[in-house]
């Protein structure tokens, strides 16, 4: 009987018998199946417990409101901890008549019956990480979505790209830090609270119990320790100190002289296309929209490695042409008066702020006016130092987006006034509640006013500022006498503060059209 030829030279002296061949083939088959099974298991484990999976949204508007920009890994809080903290520690939230994260001024989208549409307010994104733990982080919408209404009887209108004029972002971090410092912030207490709300799978439970809760506490305590000085000059509602958190947390600044507060009003972020090449930020320290966006993402909590550039790019592209909100239909508006205001605008404002018919482009638009000339509060300008800039350049040294366009300037930048009516309060530090006040000499501007109301003053063009509360909700007070909060500057004949009342009225009416 001729033996089958051996397929390949091998160490065996004889070819395999039929039984050996069968067993060999079966072994290979099983090894292959085992490999598939292990691979499938590995994929399952990876996808379920290890992968970094952000929640994404089909509509770019939803992505903007709830999508991730990569801040969770840097600064996020595990979802269920985030969820139970306001219930466990309501006393650490501002006592202003609102509850939960809404008390901090975050916008909650609601249906017609008043039920929240999402698990989180606008501005919170969720991203799943190791152990199936979902982290909650901030995104662009935290600081750039807000609401307004013409009167108490109107429903608030959620407006994307608008400065979050009711948000007290520093207090959000303050809340988290105070929770972590509370002796009741224990693993057992948190797990008990979480178990009342959710049924976690065993691995997720383990991750929460042994990693997420202790680590969150440690991190918040560490950040709290380093950020202590921030709370000495709280930015309050509608504002944020742009650079001090950076200095304290990322760069470890300790010298009080270098830690001067630089509280600024939150800006609008619509219509970015017209801003290309302009000097951006209040002090005009950067001319690149893209760099400004990355810097803002890092400000929202993303780290140089966690920042999600792909998702940020989607938002960036959409913001490029997002139009500013129009003066609402039905609100007070006198077209004839506005028409009379147009030449006044052209004469007094257009040189620095641009004309809408020219897409707000102009020689001086988006350029810095020296601080001596503009005369507004200098603290924000001082807080951005050459040293700090130098430190910024140390961020993301191995990243393609590494900063290169930051510069130290000597004043504040002119801005296009698109949608200016919705950008109250005014000046870089939000020290002037309405446009009418901005057209008044500094001495006549209110030294103290209330911030955080969403009812709009259609005569003065700004949010209602005199009322200390409305419908059970109280509004904190802005005090222009504090360091960095002066309401001086942008005044004098060239700025229109000496104009006759009639001209001011016409100009204000015209500003409603921008």
């Amino acid at each position: 009987m001729p033996l089958p030829r051996h397929p390949l030279p091998r160490w065996e002296m004889d070819p395999p018998t039929p039984v050996e061949r069968h067993i060999r083939d079966r072994r290979r088959r099983r090894a292959f199946l085992a490999f598939l099974a292990v691979a499938a298991l590995a994929m399952f484990v990876y996808w379920r417990y290890l992968a970094d999976v952000p929640r994404d949204y089909t509509r770019v508007e939803d992505q903007f409101k709830y999508g991730s920009i990569g801040s969770e890994q840097g600064n996020g809080v595990p979802y269920w901890i985030w969820k139970v903290l306001p219930e466990m520690f309501p006393e650490h939230l501002p006592r202003n008549g609102l509850s939960g994260y809404e008390a901090l001024g975050f916008v909650v989208e609601r249906d017609a019956e008043g039920r929240p549409l999402h698990d989180t307010p606008v501005g919170f994104s969720r991203r799943r990480t190791v152990g199936r733990v979902e982290l909650v982080g901030l995104n662009c919408a935290s600081c750039h979505v807000s609401v307004y209404r013409g009167s108490e009887s109107e429903e608030p209108r959620v407006t994307l790209g608008m400065p979050a004029h009711r948000l007290d972002l520093l207090s959000y971090f303050g809340f988290l830090i105070r929770c972590a410092r509370d002796p009741r912030f224990t693993t057992d207490n948190l797990m008990a609270a979480i178990d009342r709300r959710a049924s976690l799978d065993p691995i997720e439970r383990l991750a929460y119990r042994s990693v997420a809760i202790p680590r969150t506490r440690e991190r918040l305590l560490a950040v709290g320790g380093r950020a202590e000085r921030l709370f000495e000059h709280p930015s309050g509602v509608g504002r944020i100190d742009t650079f001090t958190p950076y200095k304290l947390i990322q760069f470890g600044y300790r010298d009080p002289e270098k830690l001067r507060p630089g509280n600024t009003d939150l800006p609008s972020i619509w219509n970015q296309k017209i801003r290309g090449g302009m000097q951006l930020h209040w002090d005009g320290n950067n001319t690149s929209v893209h760099e400004r966006n990355i810097s803002a993402g890092i400000g929202a909590g993303a780290s140089p490695t966690s920042i999600d550039l792909a998702r940020l790019a989607r938002i960036e592209a959409w913001l490029w042409t997002l139009p500013p909100p129009k003066w609402p239909e039905g609100w007070k508006f006198d077209a004839g008066l506005a028409e009379r205001g147009a030449p006044i605008y052209r004469r007094y404002c257009a040189d620095c702020h641009g004309l809408p018919e020219e897409d707000f482009q102009g020689r001086r638009v988006g350029t810095v006016v020296p601080i001596g000339e503009i005369g507004t509060d200098p603290e924000r300008l001082k807080s951005y130092t050459v040293d700090f800039m130098n430190n910024q350049y140390s961020l993301g040294v191995d990243q393609d987006w590494r900063f290169h366009a930051f510069r130290k300037t000597g004043g504040y930048a002119n801005q296009p006034l698109d949608g200016i009516w919705a950008r109250a309060p005014y000046l870089h530090n939000g020290s002037v509640p309405t446009l009418r006040h901005l057209l008044s000499p500094a001495a006549e501007r209110p030294g103290r006013f209330h911030v955080g109301d969403d009812v709009y003053d259609q005569d003065a063009l700004g949010f209602s500022w005199e009322r200390a509360g409305r419908g059970g909700v109280t509004f904190p007070e802005f005090d222009a006498t504090r360091l960095g909060d002066s309401n001086a500057g942008h005044e004098g004949p060239a700025y229109g503060t000496d104009l006759p009342e009639a001209d001011k009225a016409a100009l204000l009416e015209y500003l409603k059209t921008l």
């Binding site: 009987m1 033996l3 089958p4 070819p15 018998t17 039929p18 039984v19 050996e20 069968h22 067993i23 079966r26």
Partner: protein, 455 residues
């Protein structure tokens, strides 16, 4: 020992049995059923130990001996060192066996066999051959590989059986038995649980029985006069005994029909057993000695592709798997051991007029006598109780219902046969004297031809 009529059991058992067609007459109703150890030369050349072995039973008083599994071809062997009848050169050996057995007034019927796929140890000669069968599906217990036979191969096997019968006749043997049961080749064709052919040898029962009937014709054609020919049949296959998800195989009605055809074809007698694999929980009915299995199963490790799995089951250290297996084996057997096939045999007996022999662990004279008197069978075929007590017939004749140290149906003989000389390995029967047991087991090797020459 007497029954109500005052007749002793031996009156029935001791009565000669004449096979009317072949004219063969056996002096009593006791047949040594086929059983055998590896007594011969590796290549199947018969050895003196086999002659000694068969003589033990002849001397003990059985009426006839049905030989061990005797392959008609090298491809049809179940173990090496089993005497074969595949070649004319084997005739003198079988003649020598006949002479020694006949000296005690005992007849010798040779069991013509072909393993088909059920080759426990194919031997080095078959190392590169896949076994032949009615199917290409492996055996499910050991994973023995096989392929479906071609028509040419079937014809060749049919011829091999005929030639083997002619050799048996020329050797002076008293008859032949086709091993058409226990899951060997012919049973693989008969069984609806195994045969998956689509040609004239598969499908309906007539087709599945075609191979056996062709073999019967071939034997008739190759032998002179009316040489005694009997067929061993598994009355019921119980093909799913070990793995319940297997097909059940043939049922009693199928076998009755086959037996009727065989009677029509001129077969002289039928030998009724059970099971479409061997061993089977019901054949030989008894225990499954796991300890022996774990020792000897290694010899079958590379016979099939499931040897490794079985070996792990039998030798599992934790002992749960072997215990489960043993529990399952016993459960699939059922409560009856002695005469386990009696009911099936009675049914076959009722449908044929040729003599029928009943296989299945009968050790008590009273039971054997009852089988004969009640017309369940015309004779009983016994193996294990005769291994334990070669002189069982003499005990019965002396009026004992069963010998003082009876067979315990432990089946240690069965499993030891895979690797060790066949004999009774039930230590309790030797008063737990291991050396005494070994002396008895090894007695088959004496006298050797050299000792005999000096006698």
């Amino acid at each position: 020992m007497t029954d109500g009529d005052g007749r002793s059991a031996w009156d029935s058992i001791g009565e000669p049995l004449a096979f009317p067609r072949s004219g063969l007459t056996v002096k009593n109703r006791i047949f040594r059923s086929s059983i055998s150890g590896s007594f011969d030369s590796y290549d199947g050349t018969g050895g003196y130990a086999r002659i000694n072995w068969e003589e033990k039973f002849a001397r003990g008083g059985v009426g006839a001996i049905i030989s061990s599994f005797v392959p008609v071809a090298r491809r049809g062997r179940i173990l090496p060192s089993y005497a074969m009848i595949h070649d004319d050169s084997t005739i003198p050996f079988w003649g020598a066996v006949a002479d020694r057995v006949h000296a005690h007034g005992c007849k010798f019927i040779i069991q013509l066999s072909h393993s088909g796929r059920q080759q426990d140890v194919p031997g080095v000669e078959n190392r590169y051959r896949v076994a032949l069968s009615s199917t290409s599906d492996m055996d499910t217990f050991h994973g023995l590989l096989c392929r479906s036979m071609t028509k040419g191969e079937i014809d060749e096997v049919v011829e091999q059986f005929g030639l083997a019968a002619r050799r048996a006749q020329r050797a002076g043997l008293d008859g032949v038995e086709t091993h058409s049961s226990h899951g060997y080749l012919i049973n693989q064709f008969l069984s609806s649980g195994i045969n998956d052919r689509t040609d004239e040898y598969g499908g309906p029962l007539e087709n599945r029985a075609r191979l056996l009937r062709e073999i019967v014709r071939s034997i008739r054609a190759h032998t002179d006069g009316h040489f005694h020919l009997q067929c061993k049949i598994s009355a019921v296959d119980y093909n799913n005994a070990i793995y319940p998800w297997e097909k059940k195989g043939n049922v009693l009605e199928d076998s009755v029909r086959v037996c009727q055809w065989l009677e029509e074809d001129g077969v002289d007698a039928l030998h009724v057993s059970t099971g479409s694999i061997f061993p089977h929980p019901r054949s030989p009915a008894g225990d499954f000695p796991i300890d022996v299995a774990s020792e000897v199963y290694g010899r079958m490790l590379y016979s099939g592709v499931r040897g490794g799995f079985n070996q792990r089951v039998f030798s599992a250290r934790l002992g749960i798997a072997p215990r489960l297996f043993r529990w399952w084996w016993r459960r699939r057997r059922g409560p009856i051991i002695e005469g386990i096939n009696a009911a099936h045999c009675a049914e076959i007996k009722a449908h044929v007029s040729i003599p029928v022999l009943l296989n299945g662990g009968i050790q008590r004279a009273s039971l054997a006598a009852r089988v004969i008197r009640e017309g369940i069978a015309d004779g009983v075929t016994i193996a294990r109780p005769l291994i334990a007590n070669n002189d069982l017939p003499k005990h019965w004749e002396a009026g004992l219902d069963q010998p003082p140290r009876p067979c315990t149906f432990c089946n240690k003989c069965l499993l030891n046969a895979l690797a060790n000389p066949l004999g009774c390995y039930e230590l309790s029967r030797y008063a737990h004297d291991y050396d005494a047991m070994m002396d008895e087991v090894m007695s088959v090797f004496h006298p050797s031809p050299h000792e005999a020459a000096n006698l």
